[in-house]
């Protein structure tokens, strides 16, 4: 596709009223911040839920002050019931996967920086963009509402496996209106993400400024673009799944509920549905979702690493190719979540093979990072530390994926804490490190003020050590056969594991508390931080050639013309060892 010769004129004027400026804003930067804010609220909520669960696992009979107020039925006397533990588990997973890992690295940073990095003034469809956030926000409210109904949140997990999720109140607490709210919330979330993905793709294809060819796109923009392609097709499958689930629940259809199902001594009035069908539809979305969380983080980290190493990655184009390969392969591996589901055992081989194949592009990217870092003159500021931390946890969490890709090993490990450790490291923590790296890196641009670097470094080291203390032992628990999803460990064989659980819980409390340092730094720096220069990290992409924060139209009426690629580090530029993408300097000897 040919590159654009000029950005489109701004489709809407600068807002004047408070409501138009801060609430129903059409400006991609405000929408990006709204997504980020929603993710921030969600991540702390999700973290508190994990604290409650970790507390209960270790001090099973101890009352948690205040919990009784949240749910009289779920936590009589402040001690949660096994069912309420599962409710919190569901909400923790749903909040973290959807409202944090999808919202922050993709919708949040992507909305703010994709248009600026391609030299556009806004997204292609600003109204769709606003709608996408507000639909997502309503989805959040609907989900949270399940805490405040007598029924409580659903107990079926963030994967909402049928028939448990489909049969209604007979199956347990939270499965009447709680599950309805969950399904409606996720359906709405899909709509929001589809609108967002559509916007990202059209914007990247059509609104690039003069000279911004596809090969000159910064790596973070490539990552958001690839992610929006993945998200478009993945959420387009989860939405039908939610529609069918809602119909099974409220209209009496039998898509997912088999015949003759007796639950709580009550024969369910359904016939012939397939519980496996839900798993196929869900994981067809669910596996690409892992990459929706991690690919933007890969892009953000690569972007930051280059600015920290002061040289381009060994081969940026191979990283692009590998990200595209990951996106493509992510649609062929969903069955590896279902080795235990009762599907045809021969199909396990079909899904195991691409699962092992997909590790190749991921390994290539990792090797390129490590090879590029080797011998580089790194600037160890907080964003660089979190980027290095990302590489570390991505490798540590990814390696256990090789085990789980083997059906024979997965049959033993799938129902244990090994899987919990694996996906928390490789998807959860890695993506969170990407988000934190992005936050420390782009905060000066977004707010016009620097974050405190010393506090940032303290935050990094506490978090980095903390997450290893929490999630590495999960793998050993899994090997020991510690079953996941249990709210208490009463079996004899689990007793020797309790001290390790206690260690994990204490590590979780401390690591969680360390996040308050980040929150303090974020809020304090927003108002009292040192004023940020235009380009504090001496980076090359277009967001650094405008003011901090950028004006409403991003470049103050300036017509940006891109002259070169985004990775001109380690060259003789007029202002140092880098050349900006829109700098009129002559082409240097090095660089791409």
């Amino acid at each position: 596709m040919s590159d654009a010769s000029a950005p489109v004129a701004h489709q809407h004027a600068a807002p004047t009223g408070l409501l138009r400026k801060y609430v129903f804003s059409l400006d991609h930067k405000m929408i990006g911040k709204q997504y980020y804010g929603l993710a921030l609220v969600s991540v702390f909520l999700g973290m508190i839920l994990s604290w409650l669960m970790r507390f209960h696992l270790v001090w099973t009979n101890a009352a948690i002050p205040g919990l009784r107020l949240l749910s009289k039925n779920g936590a009589p006397g402040g001690v949660m019931t096994p069912e309420y533990y599962l409710s919190l588990l569901t909400m923790h997973g749903t909040l973290m996967v959807f409202f944090v890992l999808t919202n922050a690295p993709f919708a949040g940073f992507g909305n703010y920086f994709l248009p600026i990095q391609i030299g556009a003034e806004d997204m292609a469809f600003p109204r769709f963009n606003m709608m996408s956030f507000w639909v997502t926000f309503v989805a959040f409210l609907v989900l949270i509402a399940s805490f405040f109904i007598p029924d409580g949140p659903p107990i079926s997990g963030w994967t909402a496996y049928a028939p448990l999720s489909a049969v209604g109140k007979d199956a347990g607490p939270g499965l009447a209106w709680g599950q309805n709210l969950w399904a409606i919330s996720i359906g709405l979330f899909c709509v929001g993400q589809l609108l967002g993905s559509l916007n990202f793709i059209a914007t990247t294809l059509d609104l690039r400024t003069k000279g911004m060819t596809l090969s000159r796109l910064p790596i973070s923009t490539w990552a958001w673009f690839i992610t929006s392609c993945i998200g478009l097709l993945a959420f387009a499958v989860l939405l039908p799944a939610c529609v069918l689930l809602i119909l099974d629940r409220v209209a009496g259809t039998s898509f997912f509920i088999p015949a003759g199902l007796v639950i709580s001594d009550h024969l369910q009035p359904h016939s012939g549905g397939s519980p496996l069908l839900w798993q196929h539809l869900f994981w067809f979305f669910g596996h690409p979702e892992v990459y929706i969380a991690i690919v933007p983080a890969m892009g953000i980290v690569s972007h930051i690493l280059m600015a920290s190493m002061r040289k381009p990655l060994l081969s940026v184009k191979v990283v692009y190719g590998s990200m595209i390969a990951i996106g493509f392969l992510s649609y062929m591996v969903w069955g590896h979540h279902m080795f235990l589901s009762g599907m045809n055992p021969f199909s396990a081989l079909v899904f195991s093979f691409p699962t092992l194949i997909i590790t190749i592009p991921a390994t290539i990217i990792t090797m390129i990072w490590i090879g590029s870092i080797y011998g580089a003159n790194l600037r160890f500021h907080t964003p660089a530390l979190f980027s290095l931390g990302f590489v570390s946890v991505f490798v540590a969490g990814g390696v256990s994926g090789f085990f789980l890709a083997q059906p024979s090993l997965d049959i033993y490990l799938h129902g244990t804490y090994f899987v919990v450790g694996h996906f928390h490291m490789v998807m959860g923590v890695a993506a969170i490190f990407g988000i934190l790296a992005g936050t420390y890196f782009w905060f000066p641009k977004m707010s016009g003020r620097m974050m405190n670097d010393t506090l940032g470094k303290i935050h990094f080291w506490l978090t980095f050590i903390g997450v290893y203390c929490i999630f590495m032992p999960f793998h050993f628990l899994g090997f020991a056969g510690n079953v996941r999803r249990y709210s208490t460990f009463v079996d004899d064989y689990l007793q020797p594991l309790l001290p390790l659980h206690k260690f994990i819980s204490i590590a979780a409390f401390l690591t969680g508390a360390a996040q308050l340092i980040f929150l303090y730094n974020l809020i304090y720096s927003r108002f009292k931080g040192a004023p940020a220069p235009e380009n504090p990290w001496e980076a090359t992409s277009l967001e650094w050639s405008t003011t901090s924060p950028p004006p409403f139209d991003n470049f103050g009426g300036r017509h940006v013309v891109v002259k070169r690629g985004p990775n001109e580090y380690g060259v003789d530029g007029a202002h140092g060892d880098f050349i900006m993408q829109d700098s009129p300097e002559p082409e240097p000897a090095a660089g791409d």
Partner: protein, 192 residues
């Protein structure tokens, strides 16, 4: 509005550039295709999973509806081509498309009514469930297309408002919905 020659106005973009509206609609087509692929894959799996699948005769009006929708695809294409030379002629063909689209929806509503009189509701059997889900969701997309045509017709009220990309995008979407309907009809016809 009198007949007038139109200059394609693409805002401040260069003529070589693809319009965001057109890219957007192709992206939407990809997403909708994926959604209906999920629905029809579910239909195939669901049919094999239980022994409660019974064939049912599709209401005959569906074939008339198919002809109407395909005809409307022709009229919108005519409108798109006429738009290059005559705005008034384009408006006529767009109105005709709008009417045919509305007739299609009325026909679909009649088909739902026929099934209900035969005692076939959403939850009666898996095949009736899929019939209603697929046809209702397709009808909702058709409704979206009709809204797009109303928007396009309103934009033709003045030449300064007019964007050629708008009808290009609406036409792509409409052709896609016609193709999608033929696919759904084949799936329902084969499976039910």
């Amino acid at each position: 509005m009198s007949s007038m020659a139109l200059q394609p106005d693409r805002g401040s973009q260069s003529p070589a550039q693809t319009s965001p509206a057109l890219s957007g609609v192709w992206v939407a087509v990809a997403a909708i295709t994926m959604s209906f692929a999920a629905f029809t894959s579910s239909l195939i799996i669901r049919q094999a999973s239980g022994n409660d699948w019974r064939h049912l005769a599709l209401p005959g009006i569906l074939y008339l509806n198919t002809v109407i929708l395909l005809a409307s695809s022709l009229t919108v294409e005519t409108a798109r081509r006429k738009g290059i030379s005559s705005l008034a002629s384009m408006r006529f063909w767009l109105h005709l498309t709008l009417t045919l689209g509305a007739a299609f929806l009325a026909g679909q509503a009649f088909a739902w009514h026929r099934l209900r009189t035969e005692g076939l509701y959403l939850a009666t059997s898996p095949n009736s469930s899929f019939f209603y889900v697929l046809t209702v969701l397709h009808a909702l997309h058709i409704l979206g297309g009709l809204c797009a045509f109303i928007y396009v017709i309103r934009r033709t009220a003045s030449a300064s408002l007019w964007r050629v990309a708008a009808i290009d995008a609406a036409a792509v979407y409409w052709h896609f919905l016609a193709g999608l309907w033929v696919y759904l009809l084949l799936v329902l016809r084969t499976r039910l």
